[in-house]
């Protein structure tokens, strides 16, 4: 059982993910520099948050061409688990591993605060530990989390349970006010059809220890560990 945390030039949350997996969940984990290409010996690859290449041009637009991304595609094809958080999610979109695109927050401002999420699909290998009715308190921190996808693809994603998290209010209601960035249908996290590549804008690694204000994000990592141990 081994996690990989990929480091792109400009990644910022790599150390946070590394800390949670190594010190909080006590699991083996290694940094993988973006120019490395052999990731076959890992069970789960995490693309962390940050500003890869300064988010210049478009968030994730340049990082997707890093050598390591050429290996992530076949790694995912062979069933390896891939978790893209914030900038990592944007890189997965740019690389075509997940459908849709991220645009600027409708407020045109960066937003860093706690939000509430509803786990829409608790049968994935990333969300098995959650109950359908739970409301998760997990922080966001981004300037471009306004998710868009063509209507026909959205219909298919809804039908196949690919929408994994939606922004909601404290009671679990999906409302306009609880949407921090204008994202389509309050989408906060999605998964590919094969169910092994998850992208989410909120930061679970910032909500895995009570001292920081919430532990609700921990079950994502715990679900991954359980799924791999099976």
């Amino acid at each position: 059982m081994k996690f990989a945390v990929v480091v792109f030039p400009g990644s910022n949350c790599d150390a946070d993910c590394f800390h949670v997996i190594k010190n909080v969940l006590k699991q083996p984990v290694e940094y993988v520099w973006h120019q490395e290409s052999d990731i076959s010996h890992f069970d789960c690859v995490i693309l962390p948050g940050g500003f890869s290449y300064g988010d210049y041009l478009r968030t994730g637009a340049i990082a997707r061409f890093s050598p390591v991304m050429n290996s992530v595609q076949p790694f995912a094809k062979k069933g390896g688990l891939v978790l893209g958080i914030c900038n990592g999610f944007q890189i997965l979109l740019e690389a075509g591993l997940l459908p849709g695109a991220m645009m600027r927050n409708s407020s045109l401002k960066f937003v860093c605060k706690y939000v509430y999420l509803r786990p829409e699909n608790v049968k994935t290998r990333f969300t098995e530990q959650y109950q359908k009715t739970e409301v998760l308190k997990i922080p966001v921190a981004h300037g471009e989390g306004n998710y868009f996808v063509e209507p026909d693809v959205l219909k298919k994603m809804n039908a196949q349970g690919q929408i994994v998290f939606r922004y909601c209010d404290e009671q679990g209601e999906v409302t306009r006010d609880s949407n921090p960035n204008g994202s389509l249908e309050n989408i906060a996290g999605i998964i590919n059809e094969e169910g092994n590549v998850l992208g989410m804008m909120p930061h679970p690694e910032r909500a895995s220890e009570q001292i920081l204000g919430s532990e609700d994000g921990r079950k994502i990592f715990e679900s991954i560990i359980k799924a791999i141990m099976k």
Binding site: P9, A15, G54, F110, L212
Partner: protein, 664 residues
């Protein structure tokens, strides 16, 4: 601009130098300086780098203390021992004038500059705070200025991945055309990993790393010493653009390189006065000399002459002095991070700074003359006449007021209302260390590896200092230290940013002098050493000087996790105690100004000893586990303080005041 150009009085004064200063330069050189050499002296002897009008006063500050590892002035920033071979490095800097001209880039480059001061010491930057002051919020110009400054700070801090965990925002008429942007940065290091900014070791190679050099910001350093007159809009192109991505690469590459034994001998960031400052300061600290050839300096524009290259203030650049023989190791590390390191010269033992162009000497100056011989002036000080008039409080006839409406009005005043609109644009959680988020009295961070907790705050009430520079500054230091104490921390160090008017005006200089004396007295009383800081003078505009604003930054060490205290009321039935007694007057208060439209003193009586006893008592009470929460009364006084505790805790409060009030 060849060296043959006739040196005229005009050129000298244009460089911000007096004729007497020019004569001293001739003594140091033993001849007339050429144009480039004059440029070197003009930036190094400017107010911004030479502190020529404030150094004599700054010497009064207490910079020693048990925890001090590196004293203020010795290096880029002071360092304090926090035990178990860990230390913290922190400092505050101002970027007022560039932010007035181009808010976004001015504020962003201010953040970039203070971060470089920290990691150039070998410390990992882990926290930022920003202390901002603008004009009135109902003016469109203020709103656009504030939007630019806040988004500039957000752009830099968020992209480089350092959390902005605290700070303050004030709105006063006096800052309308001269905003204050003071930025604080703190880093952490193991004591053995600290790196000195020294050029030592004959023949050691000198590398230039980071962005290539352009013509931006030339005279940036001296620019900060001119008043903001109408003319200042012409010298606009002197503002630089920020590249936080490049600096993120520099932080990671440098910290990785510093851990490789025997590779790096000294390092210095290129701040104001760019290449000039970094070369002569490292040579001066190393008691050595340095020789560089501008031809080897990577540049962004064509046809740049030595004068432009040496004075350019392009951002995100570092000077790294490596150990001879380790050049490949240095180049390899920088290349890994996509950075180009150019060999631009080497260390000598002549004690001189020599600049060449294609091998030909174009400047040859004793480095200590540039760094240690800036003329220091004892300016005349005179108590401003306005003080008598503004410290005479009209009688406040005790007519019936609607206290509820007045409290609601105060809570909605920009100086008091929540600053969520600001700090939610900053990533204040990255690095997983932020235990107490913005909005409390002090930010609290955990240091995962060191197993320790830090509290930090930045404070100043400019109006108090306008009404009484000495007592106002005492209260600024007290409030900043108090914010750390009521969060459970014992203050271990203070940095400051002294934003004052034109020192050549005796009234402004008097206020600077009084403020520095007050910092000395308060720091001695609270046993807090000053670890360094920044002076920003000439903060004036056509309307006159700004409020004298000595911004404080205090960092405290929290003994154990259970000592961490926040201001929100916790449980129903908890008892509320008011310690330190009721306020002693309404002078200078937000209430007087916002509700009764009176901006007058005298300031309420303030006793340093009482404050010191109060702080010691509160810290002990916290450490003994007696307190559920703690909050200090500042703007808006007791009523606002109670309201804030209740609102943040989503609770109420029932209080009975057995006093006749302050108006009688």
């Amino acid at each position: 601009m060849s060296s043959l150009m006739m040196m005229t009085e005009d050129i000298i004064t244009q460089h911000g130098l007096t004729l007497e200063e020019y004569d001293r330069i001739k003594v140091f050189l033993g001849r007339e300086p050429n144009f480039l050499e004059l440029g070197l002296f003009s930036v190094m002897w400017s107010e911004h780098c030479g502190y020529k009008n404030s150094k004599l006063e700054l010497k009064k500050l207490p910079t020693t203390g048990s925890g001090i590892l590196i004293k203020a002035g010795e290096e880029n920033a002071g360092a304090i021992d926090i035990g178990d071979d860990w230390c913290i490095v922190f400092k505050m800097e101002s970027h007022n004038h560039p932010s007035a001209i181009e808010p976004f880039q001015g504020a962003a480059t201010g953040v970039g500059g203070i971060i470089r001061d920290i990691f150039t010491m070998g410390a990992r930057p882990i926290a930022l705070m920003d202390s901002l002051r603008f004009g009135r919020l109902d003016e469109a110009k203020t709103r656009s200025l504030m939007t630019g400054v806040v988004s500039g700070i957000a752009h830099y801090g968020n992209c480089i991945g350092i959390p902005t965990v605290g700070g303050e925002v004030y709105f006063e008429e006096s800052y309308s055309t001269n905003p204050l942007v003071n930025v604080f940065c703190l880093g952490i290091a193991r004591k053995k990993d600290l790196v000195k900014g020294k050029a030592v070791g004959m023949g050691n190679p000198v590398f230039y790393v980071g962005s290539s050099t352009g013509r931006d910001g030339i005279h940036g350093a001296t620019f900060a010493s001119d008043e903001l007159t109408e003319k200042s809009h012409e010298d606009r192109p002197s503002v630089q653009t920020a590249d936080p991505f490049m600096e993120k690469l520099l932080v990671e590459a440098c910290l990785e390189l510093f851990k490789k034994p025997g590779c790096v001998v000294g390092v210095q960031d290129m701040g104001a006065a760019g290449l000039t400052c970094s070369t002569c300061e490292t040579a001066s600290r190393g008691n050595s000399g340095i020789e560089i050839d501008v031809e080897l300096v990577p540049r962004r524009e064509t046809g740049m002459n030595p004068y432009e290259i040496m004075l350019s203030e392009s951002q995100e650049r570092m000077l790294v002095i490596a150990q001879k023989g380790k050049e490949d190791e240095v180049l390899k590390t920088f290349e890994k991070w996509g950075l180009h390191a150019a060999l631009v010269g080497h260390v000598t033992d002549t004690g001189r700074m020599v600049v060449k162009e294609k091998g030909k000497v174009v400047a040859d100056v004793p480095s200590k003359a540039l760094t240690d011989e800036a003329p220091l002036y004892k300016r005349p000080a005179k108590r401003p006449a306005y003080l008598d008039e503004v410290n005479r409080l009209p009688d406040l006839s005790p007519e019936k007021s609607n206290y509820t409406n007045e409290l609601l009005q105060l809570l909605s005043e920009p100086n008091i209302a929540s600053k969520q609109w600001v700090y939610e644009q900053y990533d204040h959680m990255v690095m997983d260390n932020t235990v107490v988020l913005p909005g409390s009295d002090a930010a609290v961070l955990r240091l995962k590896e060191a197993g320790k907790y830090l509290a930090m705050s930045s404070d100043c009430n400019g109006r108090y200092c306008y009404l009484d520079a000495y007592q106002g500054t005492l209260m600024a230091v007290a409030e900043c230290a108090r914010n750390v104490v009521i969060s459970g921390g014992r203050p271990v160090g203070l940095t400051d940013c002294l934003n004052f008017g034109n020192p050549l005006k005796p009234e402004s200089f008097w206020m600077l002098q009084k403020a520095i004396e007050a910092i000395r007295d308060a720091c001695l009383k609270f046993e807090i050493p000053v670890t360094g800081g920044n002076v920003s003078l000439y903060n004036e505009s056509p309307q006159g000087a700004i409020f004298p604003t000595p911004t404080m930054g205090v960092v405290g060490l929290i003994q154990k996790e259970s000592d961490i205290t926040t201001l929100s009321f916790k449980e129903e039935g908890d008892l509320i105690f008011l310690t330190g007694g009721f306020g002693k007057g309404l002078g200078g208060s937000e209430y007087l100004w916002r509700v009764l439209d009176i901006q007058k003193g005298p300031l309420p009586a303030f006793d340093l000893d009482e404050e010191w006893k109060l702080q010691k008592f509160i810290l002990k009470a916290i450490q003994k586990g007696w307190l559920q929460s703690a909050h200090d009364t500042s703007e808006g006084g007791l009523a606002v303080a109670l309201a804030e505790c209740a609102m943040q805790g989503k609770k109420g409060a029932l209080c009975e005041l057995k006093t006749s009030g302050l108006r009688g």
